[in-house]
């Protein structure tokens, strides 16, 4: 197998020592089928054990290894080193989030926002268990299925200029999940969620740059969800105006 030489410039930040982050370079001889995550793991295992970063599954499912690779938000486990062969690659923590340490970001803001949009099925009245499950047709499932593929890697937040400029913005992933539950035929929480979604820091802070969807490693389309939410919240507002709010 051929070897690929990679010059990694990793952003380092130790809150106990550094006033601000700085880059540290590592030269890595990679196998050609490696991902950038493998190269970082190699540095951690053989060169510098002090580097901090998150990763877990190495198969684009857990969403832990989101980071800026050459200025673009990507999953490090899905970024082949051969795309950066024989060149310098800047590896930084996800943009738009505070840096906890090295490549680790503080995710508290997202977690709080995710909670606010109530990303779970809300029923006005639960039916008794003996009445059986809530059935759903394949067409009803198709309506929201793509939004269930979100792995909360936060690449969309790092790509979103609105989130960078207006940190109050609830942001793409959380709003896309709100849309996912609004679209679910088993859910009755639309009016409840819209109290959060229809605020200025909800969908109306989105100016539709589409960069969230372009950055998504799972091909979810949060930009589409947000534009649909704009239409839905407007329709809901008019319905409430004429006393037909409901769900």
């Amino acid at each position: 197998m051929n070897e690929i030489k990679l010059e990694l410039d990793i952003l380092r930040y130790d809150p106990e020592k550094d006033r601000e982050p700085h880059f540290q370079s590592y030269s890595v001889a990679c196998q050609e089928d490696w991902m950038v995550l493998d190269a970082i793991n190699h540095v951690k295992d053989h060169v510098d054990t002090t580097i901090s970063y998150r990763w877990s599954c190495h198969m684009a499912v857990c969403g832990s290894c989101g980071m800026m690779i050459d200025g673009k938000p990507k999953l490090a486990c899905k970024a082949p080193v051969k795309d950066y062969a024989n060149q310098k690659v800047r590896v930084e923590p996800l943009a738009n989030f505070p840096i906890e340490r090295d490549l680790v970001v503080v995710q508290d803001d997202f977690m709080e926002k995710l909670k606010r949009v109530k990303p779970y099925i809300i029923r006005k009245e639960e039916k008794p268990i003996e009445e059986g499950e809530y059935k759903q047709t394949p067409a009803e499932l198709k309506k929201y299925k793509q939004f269930t593929l979100c792995i909360n890697c936060l690449c969309c937040y790092a790509a979103c200029p609105e989130y960078a400029l207006t940190p109050e913005f609830i942001g793409p992933a959380a709003l896309a999940l709100a849309h996912r539950y609004n679209q679910d035929s088993r859910d009755q929480g639309l009016a409840e969620r819209h109290k959060v979604i229809s605020t200025p820091e909800g969908v109306w802070d989105c100016s539709f740059t589409d960069t969230c969807s372009l950055a998504c490693p799972k091909h979810v389309d949060p930009a589409s969800a947000l534009q649909q939410l704009k239409i839905a919240t407007t329709t809901q507002w008019y319905k409430e105006l004429i006393g037909m709010g409901g769900n």
Binding site: P15, P98, I99, K142, L165, F208, T211, L214, Q227, Q228
Partner: protein
């Protein structure tokens, strides 16, 4: 303590090609707004009688205004195309278990655009 990276509020759109294209799209709204104001001015002139209307028409024929109207026409075409391109995202149509291809949704907007343009040109006596 966690480190918060500074964000430029004035040059952020130069950092990424997609941000820049987005800002160009946003800028085209100025021309759409300006043309809407000219239309309102024209409607006001119609209400003001034949003389006011003739004066309005005359003010559209100066070289500066002609240039502005040509630029506005081109920019509004760009604006409309940019928006039609993203309509499948805002208005996806599901038929059974499948979504209608985005090209059909965007294409539908072009068809409506052409039909409305022909109607306006017909009413204006151009066709």
């Amino acid at each position: 303590m966690a480190y918060v990276r500074p964000v430029s509020t004035t040059t952020w759109y130069l950092k990424d090609r997609n941000y820049f294209i987005h800002m160009v799209n946003e800028l085209t709204s100025f021309f759409v707004g300006a043309f809407a104001l000219i239309l309102l001015w024209g409607i006001g002139a119609v209400a003001g009688g034949p003389e006011a209307y003739q004066s309005f028409l005359a003010s559209l024929t100066g070289p500066g205004m002609r240039l502005f109207l040509w630029v506005t026409t081109i920019v509004i075409f760009y604006h409309a195309i940019a928006w039609f391109k993203v309509t499948p995202k805002a208005m996806p149509v599901q038929k059974g278990e499948e979504f209608v291809p985005g090209s059909l949704i965007a294409g539908g907007h072009y068809v409506v655009w052409v039909v409305l343009t022909l109607i306006v040109l017909f009413l204006a006596g151009v066709l």
